[in-house]
Symmetry: C2
Subunit: 420 residues, 2 copies
């Protein structure tokens, strides 16, 4: 891959239908009985059966749609699919055999509406856990939804999958391939996601759908997806991969180069695709952190100087998950002591006397000791929508970045009054 | 030890001076300049140098008073001491060599006031991290405090060590020894503690002082202390042993049986003492959880049926640390789905279809599935000051209990506006 010739261009307003070969949309199907004007069912449909892949939660309480989508993608979670159905309002989680039967029947209903095999349907659900998912909204909703979806419906689909999200989340990029095998073709990667339970996202469902019009072999699509997820959604604080329903799907229509051979692992075109998918997933992940429940600030925690990648990761996540750090940011308090305490109990190896910490670019700690700083300047910088915390452990060369948000009264209001 | 003959009796209003041979008290020494009527310095003093032991934080950012108290107790943290000095308002943490010099000078000042060697002084500090601890309040405060302490001053000392605590925390028990070596002597164990940062107490300082008038060898006192701490303070959610300043001291005056030989490990009298120290520490730990910052409810999480002790512990702690579970309790929502999600991501081994969950004694989940329950009855039980969560993993025979509190608007207010 010739780095100088490869450039990702963001597509303003782009999303899951930016790539050629996809239609999408959303409707109110009836899962959210109390809010009849709210969209609660989304459909993303490829013009033909195409390559597909999935990355799923590892939670022991794994929801029925996760089990069924894994089955439909087949061994290793890379295969083919025609469409993706996502409902909000009910997670179909902790619903036992009844939930599995419901999810399989949901696939049959979608297959009939779309005109494909039930195995080519992927499903995801988000909402309340432990309540049975009704089938009737699928029976009436999916035929109506299939009839109205179009190539401009990405934004509507993104709205239909929201739960406590305050904004729909979409991103898309395009690039001209520098791989001679693709003859200068322009490929697009777009996506949408939902998720905002950002205090401990390990228990808040994250659902994402990424589409591309590049031709991609299922195994290469799967690898690019796993790689992108590990550096994006899984960096939005601890264990974001382990809620009951966390799901990230990818589909590749090939519509931008229908005659070309599918992109395989180890080719220049694969590196381009992986970079584009990472960019889309990272922008979506940042949107999730920014839209954390009740959040007023995106918080970016970067740890450098760690002994190894695992230490960098646990140090950054422990800071990002500290309620004391997150409430300090909400209170506009440059409290590096709470950051130091989190680093110190993270399990990462370092010597306290080698640690440096900057908050919003302001040096506040050097060699483990306080550095005097201008409090007024700090208060000014707290007005920024993004707050950066940078800690150098002075131990090695490993580094990582994780994203989170501040911790507010509104978070407690949202989660203390979710189901009632 | 004859179990039928051994009984612990609580001493109403008891605390750190309930045991014979100890004086204590507290004054405003000047660490809290803005609140001149608030006590901020406590002294617990034995009539003579006696057995002492300590259990300390394992945080990499370990505060200066922790280092100095370890030195003074000597190898293994079991030795002798005459007095314990605790200040609130400043943690003397992340203060480097200056902080160490300050803590050592603090010992000299106390030694001069009390009339003992500096090595027989133990110190602890709690409050803001990263700011230098002034010596002047010790210089003026300790002589004045030493002059006024008495055997009824336990309650005053307990007030002087409070930070965001809303109530002082004390407990004491007595028992008649059934060990023939102690000739029916009655021994008392009493204690005080501070701590209330209960959302992630791994970063909130816990300080406790336990005294007894039993004669105890330093090594036996140390072992009984470590055993009690592991089953009490360390069960108040995750990593409560790893803040920068966490400290638990024990002193044994021997004043209730001055002629008897010190209690050693492996004797019936040791088992009695360990049980009494555990009871005092457990009651103090429950008070910490009850007084969690902004808390309205004590939450007791019991996990049974785990494959082993480690699985029981991680499952119970993950539930107890879940902001989604804790906000649900604040919102009086019997949301077992959030409990299940926490169990599922804890890393404990189990099959979701074997899990049972009760909330406040109400069965809400059996075999991983919802059990219908009376919502009105649940709302009534939420009025109790203590909320119980019981999860049976159906995997093995290991069990544990941890304590936490609910998660409220007030927590955010306290921690978002702590230093300003």
């Amino acid at each position: 891959m010739n780095a100088s010739a490869f450039e990702l261009s963001p597509l303003e307003g782009g999303g899951v239908t930016s790539a050629a070969g996809f239609k999408a949309g959303g409707i109110h199907a009836g899962f959210r009985k109390k809010t009849p004007d709210r969209l609660d069912l989304a459909l993303v449909e490829a013009d033909e059966v195409c390559s597909a892949a999935g990355a799923f939660t590892t939670n022991v309480f794994c929801a029925a749609p996760v089990i069924v989508s894994r089955e439909n993608l087949g061994e290793g979670c890379a295969g083919t699919a025609r469409c993706i159905v996502v409902n909000s309002g009910n997670a179909n989680a902790a619903t036992g055999d009844v939930g599995l039967t419901t999810a399989r029947r949901e696939c049959e209903i979608a297959a009939e509406a779309v005109g494909c095999a039930a195995e080519d349907v992927l499903v995801a659900s988000t909402g309340v856990i432990g309540q049975h998912l009704p089938l009737e909204p699928f029976e009436t909703g999916l035929p109506a939804l299939h009839a109205k979806i179009d190539a401009a419906g990405g934004a509507e689909a993104a709205r239909a999958i929201m739960t406590t999200d305050t904004v729909p989340k979409e991103w898309a990029v395009c690039y001209q391939s520098a791989d001679p095998a693709y003859d200068g073709a322009t490929f697009t990667v777009g996506g949408m996601c939902k998720g905002s339970g950002m205090i401990m996202p390990n228990m808040a469902t994250m659902i994402a759908v990424v589409t591309t019009d590049a031709p991609v072999a299922p195994s290469a699509l799967h690898e690019a997806l796993l790689s992108a997820v590990s550096q994006s959604f899984n960096k939005v604080t601890v264990d974001s991969d382990t809620s009951t329903n966390d799901t990230c799907f990818a589909m590749a229509s090939g519509a931008a180069a229908p005659e070309a051979r599918p992109i395989e692992l180890g080719t220049p075109a694969y590196e381009e695709l992986a970079a584009a998918m990472l960019e889309v997933c990272m922008q979506l992940a940042r949107k999730i952190a920014t839209d954390g429940e009740g959040a007023t600030r995106l918080v970016t925690v970067t740890v450098t100087g760690a002994a190894d990648d695992a230490d960098a990761d646990r140090a950054a996540r422990t800071v990002a998950n500290s309620p004391l750090v997150k409430t300090a940011i909400y209170g506009h308090d440059c409290n590096w002591g709470r950051i130091a305490a989190a680093l110190g109990k993270s399990g990462a190896r370092f010597d306290a006397s080698n640690v440096s910490i900057d908050i919003m670019g302001i040096p506040v700690c050097r060699n483990g000791l306080t550095v005097p700083f201008d409090e007024d300047e700090a208060l000014r910088r707290f007005e920024d929508p993004e707050i950066t915390i940078a800690a150098d452990l002075g131990q090695g060369r490993a580094a990582t970045t994780v994203w989170t948000c501040d911790f507010t009264h509104e978070y407690v209001t949202i989660n203390g009054d979710y189901r009632t």
